[in-house]
């Protein structure tokens, strides 16, 4: 007799790589992937500080999404699911690769900045900003990253983080207050909720 578990993962893990098969679904995985890829990389960068790590993170999240596509394509917001996976994995990735990520950040910065002074300045500003975000407690950092990257209302961020709208507002309030202090900026705590 089988005493077997892991069905929710297992059906996904057996998914065939044939891309044509997913076109039967309400939204094909391919179009979902194309649409969301750069947003996931941006989120990964915000939470890890490394572009290569961000791309890795995004790709791993999409691999998980592809495996679970028969299930998550039925969700109202598959995008929220894949962001939650990326946000959760970013935490452990950052713990594991903190030292490496710092090195990669420097390399990636050089690659990205090129010679354009304005681009250089903007990229440095962004790097400084996200560094400060990553200094926040984990849930605050995730909420703030989603808030500024996606421009979403707090209810949608709550869907990604798997908590209540009120909790997200609290995370954002505390996070932005700390950020303003650390970055020497006026709080300007407007909301989009």
């Amino acid at each position: 007799m089988i005493r077997s578990g892991g069905g929710q993962r297992r059906d996904a893990s057996m998914a065939d790589p044939s891309d044509q098969l997913v076109y039967r679904l309400p939204e094909s995985f391919e179009s979902f992937y194309e649409r969301e890829y750069h947003s996931l990389v941006s989120l990964g960068y915000a939470l890890t500080g490394s572009w290569p790590a961000a791309e890795d993170l995004a790709q791993e999240a999409f691999l998980a999404a592809h495996q679970a596509w028969p299930r998550i394509s039925r969700y109202e917001q598959p995008g929220a699911w894949v962001r939650r996976v990326a946000a959760n994995r970013a935490v452990s990735l950052r713990r594991r690769q903190l030292v490496e990520a710092r090195g990669l950040l420097r390399l990636a910065g050089r690659h990205l900045l090129g010679t354009d002074a304005d681009q250089t300045h903007q990229a440095e500003e962004a790097a400084d900003f996200w560094r400060a975000v990553r200094g926040l407690p984990r849930r605050q950092a995730q909420a703030v990253a989603l808030f500024y990257l996606e421009g979403w209302p707090t209810a949608e961020i709550a869907g990604v983080l798997g908590c209540s709208d009120t909790t997200v507002r609290a995370h954002l309030h505390k996070g932005r207050r700390t950020l303003a202090r650390r970055l020497g900026a006026e709080p300007g705590l407007g909301g989009r909720s």
């Binding site: 098969l21 572009w51 500003e125 006026e186």
Partner: protein, 364 residues
Amino acid sequence: MNLESRGRQVGQVTRQLAEARGPVPPFALVRRRHRRRAWRQAALVAAAVVAVAALVMVQVRQQASEEVTSRPRSFGRVATTIHLGGQLSVVRADAAGVWVQRDREVVRVDPRTNRVTARLPMSPSDSELGAVGDGSLWLTHIAQGTVTRVDPATGRTVATIGVPGGDNAPVSMSMAVGPGAVWVDYDLGGTGVVRIDPATNTVATAVKLAKTPAGLAASDRAVMVLTRESGVVYQIDPATNRVVASIPVCRESKAVAYAAGVFWIGCDEGTLLRIDPVTHRVAATVELGPATGSAGGVGADDGAVWVAGLGDVLVRVDPRSNTVVGSGSVTGPAGSYITDMTVGSDAVWLTTSQGTLVRFDPDS
């Protein structure tokens, strides 16, 4: 510039920088690259496992060759293909029949007639069929972190049980039914396993794990918990509800099943591990062959171990000799793939991406 303006501007710049890194890479390329990396990492672990297992295998094979009296003549055959339609994502079997999750309902197939005899809508509708056992269907609901017990005769919800911390919406949940216990693992970014008492429909105990769980199987004497990409499985003693062993296995274990005193673990690199719960060791490593790919599903009974590989390949392993008896494509039309499998009623049952339930009868 205030924080609000700066944050929005940084958000836009970050998105532009992400796009400037290049176009979206083809997904097929992404998958190949990650698979190659996983292979490389797994190869190191596998080499060590194989070296240790080699000595054990020699002993096991010698013993098995003495015990084998009649080896299966061949692989088996597809007995029937039942078209159910919709998306079939989970299949389970018990004495009452074969249960298949089709979209947002569970259908029961009578193994004597191969016909659908019941349809039960799932509540909540976005639940998953986790397990069958103790005369019930057990559904998981990831977003709420709950387990729902359903009476299969009426479709009525008998109980809804929350896992500790489940309101943080776990990334995955898996279930296994053992004697007098329903075991649920869940991933909240590194959590553990809970034991539900089916007599009271309450969480009896929670077992904290150091690694993130990723599937489990249960017997009367042991519960084996897979972990995500960490190269170990945990063995829990159901008598004490404590972890009694952390067993080194392949880097990414994908599925686990129990039969005849042995746990079988399918690995991403295309191997099947035989785990002895008494010695807490890998007793044998079965190479499944290059056509199998990742061993994504495992089912077993006293006579055979079945592995569903990536795509449409089913592999039969003889548990007495720990060798592959045969393998082949079982899903029908080219391009279709296996979405789940289980063993019961003297058959292997496989759901496919084409909306069919395949009944595979083994040769004895």
